[in-house]
């Protein structure tokens, strides 16, 4: 039982994205099986000892306990991020692009074009990065938030104003210039595996679809 308890507590610490208090750890158990606080404390002490030889250590902070990579290993961890910085998903980039071109736009506007729900985390990431902001609410039922791009957005993409965004008709050329190009491969991360070109030829945009692009985007 003791070993099982240790495994459970370790698993909790390694999946929670915050420090866990003893009460929070206890709350995971049904009341009947809940270990006493002292037992949980002992278990945590045991985990701390086990970590002695390892890359992580158990830290007690104000809100509880958390497992943290040892300070002296910080350099290695940072190298990992340098080598491969995190990337945004295609869903996020499409959402941002749609806001840029159709602003002010609601979540519903974006969902209409994309055909799937826009996740809250995408909107939050874009707001956190200060690339978009809420400019108001549309006066329709539910009063949805209207999103627009920010000054920081223009700065980041080196644009003086939104009118510097290329017209949609030019995007076609861009796509053709980059068939399975570096954009798609490294940044969008769509092509995690090397593309097998067995049955495939080009990944260009369908002519007809492109011809129809400006229409569907501009009437907003």
């Amino acid at each position: 039982m003791n070993r099982e308890l240790k495994s459970i507590v370790e698993a909790l610490l390694l999946t929670a994205d915050r420090a866990l208090s003893i009460d929070e750890i206890g709350a995971v158990f049904d009341e009947a099986d809940r270990p006493r606080r002292e037992v949980i404390k002992q278990t945590l002490a045991q985990i701390a000892t086990d970590c002695d030889q390892r890359g992580v250590e158990l830290k007690e902070v104000a809100s509880g306990y958390r497992l943290q990579v040892r300070q002296e290993l910080a350099g290695w961890v940072n190298r990992l991020w340098e080598e491969k910085p995190p990337r945004y998903t295609r869903a996020l980039l499409e959402t941002l692009a749609l806001i840029a071109y159709r602003q002010p736009a609601t979540r519903g506007d974006i969902e209409e074009v994309r055909g799937v729900a826009v996740s809250t985390s995408i909107i939050r990431t874009l707001l956190d990065r200060e690339w978009i902001r809420i400019s108001g609410h549309r006066e329709t039922p539910g009063r949805p938030e209207l999103f627009v791009t920010t000054r920081q957005f223009l700065d980041h993409f080196n644009l003086k104003s939104l009118s510097d965004l290329p017209p949609l008709s030019e995007i076609k050329d861009l796509q053709e210039a980059l068939p399975e190009g570096p954009v798609a491969e490294s940044v969008l991360g769509l092509f995690a595996e090397p593309a097998e070109k067995t049955e495939t030829e080009s990944v260009g945009v369908d002519e007809e679809a492109v011809a129809a692009l400006p229409r569907s985007a501009k009437d907003a």
């Binding site: 300070q71 941002l96 055909g115 861009l174 940044v187 569907s216």
Partner: protein, 267 residues
């Protein structure tokens, strides 16, 4: 409260008494919707009908299954539930299959390879394979359900996780992609637009009353595609069943003509 036997609740659906049956239905319409949503299409429905009888796909009795399938389709239509076009296509296919089986078979058709059930059985087996594969897939342990990536916090003061980099080109590529997909999406919507059998029936009746005797072909609109043919066919079947039209075909494979049934003249 209405008087008489209507007053009696026939069934309780989600706690609500249902006292009036829609036509000859035994299923309240809202239950039908739940019912239809439970199926992933005509093949799934067929598979269910087969399995419910505990028979092997290989031993299906096409006539029996066709009747059951048609019965379901009818129930669903009577419930004013707009059926996906695919259910109609399957209905037509089954009807055709059944008629072929009922026809006297020629010598060379005796060979099993020409067993008209073959194509249907193959499709059912193939669909079932992937239906099971999907269930297997769903049972695999997966991240954020049975599995969690173990993560520890990075060391406190050295936290320099860079922000993801994005170039303008990436953004534009994403825009092009979103719009291209939207275009496909809209295109697909148009394709899915259904032609209802009811509309077809009233259309047929309108023209028959005017012209009295018309070939089946004259009702077909090329713009409606294959679905249009199927729906027109179903509409004619429906009218025949209700003895509202008569069909005349002078030769085998000759043109089929329609006219209003006797006593059905324009009122």
């Amino acid at each position: 409260m209405p008087a008489g036997r209507q007053q009696l609740a026939i069934a309780y659906i989600a706690g609500t008494a249902v006292s009036e049956l829609p036509g000859d239905l035994y299923i309240p319409p809202n239950a039908l919707e739940v019912y239809l949503e439970a199926f992933e299409g005509p093949l799934d429905l067929l598979l269910y009908l087969i399995k419910r009888q505990n028979i092997d796909i290989l031993e299906i009795d096409v006539a029996e299954i066709t009747d059951q399938y048609m019965a379901y389709i009818e129930l669903m239509q009577a419930g004013q539930f707009e059926l996906a076009a695919e259910y109609m296509v399957m209905a037509a296919m089954l009807a055709e299959l059944k008629s072929r089986i009922l026809l006297p078979r020629t010598e060379d058709a005796e060979e099993e390879e020409d067993d008209p059930r073959m194509q249907l059985i193959r499709r059912l087996l193939e669909y079932e394979r992937y239906k099971l594969a999907a269930e297997d897939l769903d049972r695999l342990p997966r991240l954020d359900r049975e599995l969690r990536q173990a993560r520890a916090d990075p060391p406190e003061f050295e936290r320099t996780i860079p922000e993801p980099k994005v170039e303008l080109a990436d953004l534009l590529a994403a825009m092009a992609n979103a719009l291209r997909q939207a275009e496909l999406f809209e295109h697909h919507q148009v394709q899915l637009e259904s032609i209802s059998t009811e509309q077809k029936i009233s259309h047929l009746l309108r023209y028959l009353e005017k012209d009295r005797f018309l070939s089946l072909g004259s009702f077909l609109d090329p713009r409606e595609g294959r679905l249009g043919v199927v729906v027109t066919f179903l509409a004619v079947m429906e009218l025949m069943r209700n003895a509202m039209v008569e069909i005349v075909q002078s030769d085998v494979f000759g043109p089929i003509h329609l006219r209003l049934a006797a006593g059905r003249d324009a009122s």
